[in-house]
């Protein structure tokens, strides 16, 4: 019930922000412009979607879409057990959108993960540093144009020789 109510009002409440509303496999998806994501999510949180179940990103390089990247927010209402997915579209040239860390603390690490793997900047994030890859890593490996075998980073380590056991091992 909450879901129907929210979705029916969404287009009227945010006519310039909401791009589209679709349904896929029983899940409602709200497509929005990324600059105003904080406004939309603040409103949705006030409506009862109190829990951010997941925050991830999609590279639409080969899929097509409004923009190159989509940041997906999976919301859950604990009262009615209803779910809603919000997709915010981020262009490749200016891959940044406001952080929602102020709404949900869990977004802290999830946004760091999206930043690490997709290179999307979250404005206003308190500590936007890499979370999985090494600190000195270059590039964002989950982007579809990143080579699967990397850029030689896995071959780039010092070779350690044997110490006093230098003699060739007997077979």
């Amino acid at each position: 019930m909450l879901l129907e109510q929210t979705l029916s009002q969404m287009k009227e409440r945010f006519p310039d922000i909401v791009l589209d509303m679709t349904e896929f496999a029983g899940e409602q998806i709200l497509h929005v412009k990324s600059q105003h994501i904080l406004t939309v999510l603040t409103a949705l949180k006030a409506d009862g979607y109190n829990f951010l179940a997941d925050l991830t990103a999609i590279d639409n390089l080969t899929l097509g879409g409004y923009e190159r990247f989509a940041v997906a927010y999976h919301l859950l209402c604990h009262k009615t057990a209803e779910r809603l997915t919000v997709k915010a579209y981020v262009p490749e040239e200016k891959a940044s959108l406001p952080s929602v860390e102020s709404l949900w603390k869990t977004a802290d690490w999830q946004e760091r993960e999206v930043f690490d793997l997709f290179g999307i900047i979250f404005e206003g994030h308190p500590n936007l540093i890499r979370i999985m890859n090494p600190d000195d890593y270059e590039g964002h490996p989950l982007r579809k144009d990143y080579p699967r075998l990397g850029r030689k980073e896995r071959d780039n380590f010092p070779v350690i020789e044997r110490g006093i056991q230098k003699k060739k091992r007997p077979e």
Binding site: N133, E153, V159, I160, E161, R169
Partner: protein, 163 residues
């Protein structure tokens, strides 16, 4: 003391053999378990295969107290500097077992972030195939390490330390 007493109480051997005998029967492994091979390694320690039969049950999680490094699991590019540091912290002489397909060759993880075989960067003595290897395979590798230790020459050490 008569001759018969000496005969039954004294053993003559080479110093080298005595040292190697002691070393090979009191290996102190340092497990570097990063994945499912690390779980399988626990079975090697447990009662069914029990490596204390080979004198290697004193598992140390400090590289400074170990002489056998068992690398069990895939090594990512973030973990490799850690592995190198741990290897270098171990006192010599030291031996390395590469346990399982991932540590030996990267296994199925042919991606940017996984090292394709730790032997590219640190010396490995024995490889154990399998995904993960059966505990018997690890015991076999331990016995192979013991054979290697048996063939160590003390003169090699003496030469290198005098340099």
């Amino acid at each position: 003391m008569n001759y018969d007493d000496i005969k039954s109480n004294v053993l003559t051997t080479k110093l080298e053999s005595a040292i190697n005998w002691g070393r090979k029967n009191s290996l102190w492994p340092m497990p570097f378990g990063t994945a499912c091979c690390g779980i399988e390694f626990m079975a090697v320690l447990a009662s069914r295969t029990d490596i204390s039969r080979f004198g290697a049950e004193a598992i140390r999680f400090s590289p400074r107290q170990s002489d056998l490094l068992i690398v069990a699991g895939r090594i990512s590019i973030k973990m490799m500097p850690v592995l190198i540091r741990i290897y270098e912290q171990m006192p010599e002489p030291k031996w390395v077992i590469s346990m399982g397909a991932c540590a030996s060759s990267g296994g199925v993880f042919d991606t940017y972030s996984v090292i394709q075989g730790i032997d590219q960067f640190i010396p490995v003595d024995v490889y154990v195939p399998g995904c993960p290897p059966r505990p018997e395979g690890v015991v076999e590798s331990l016995m192979k390490i013991q054979n290697l230790i048996d063939k160590e020459k003390l003169s090699d050490y003496a030469l290198s330390s005098s340099k």
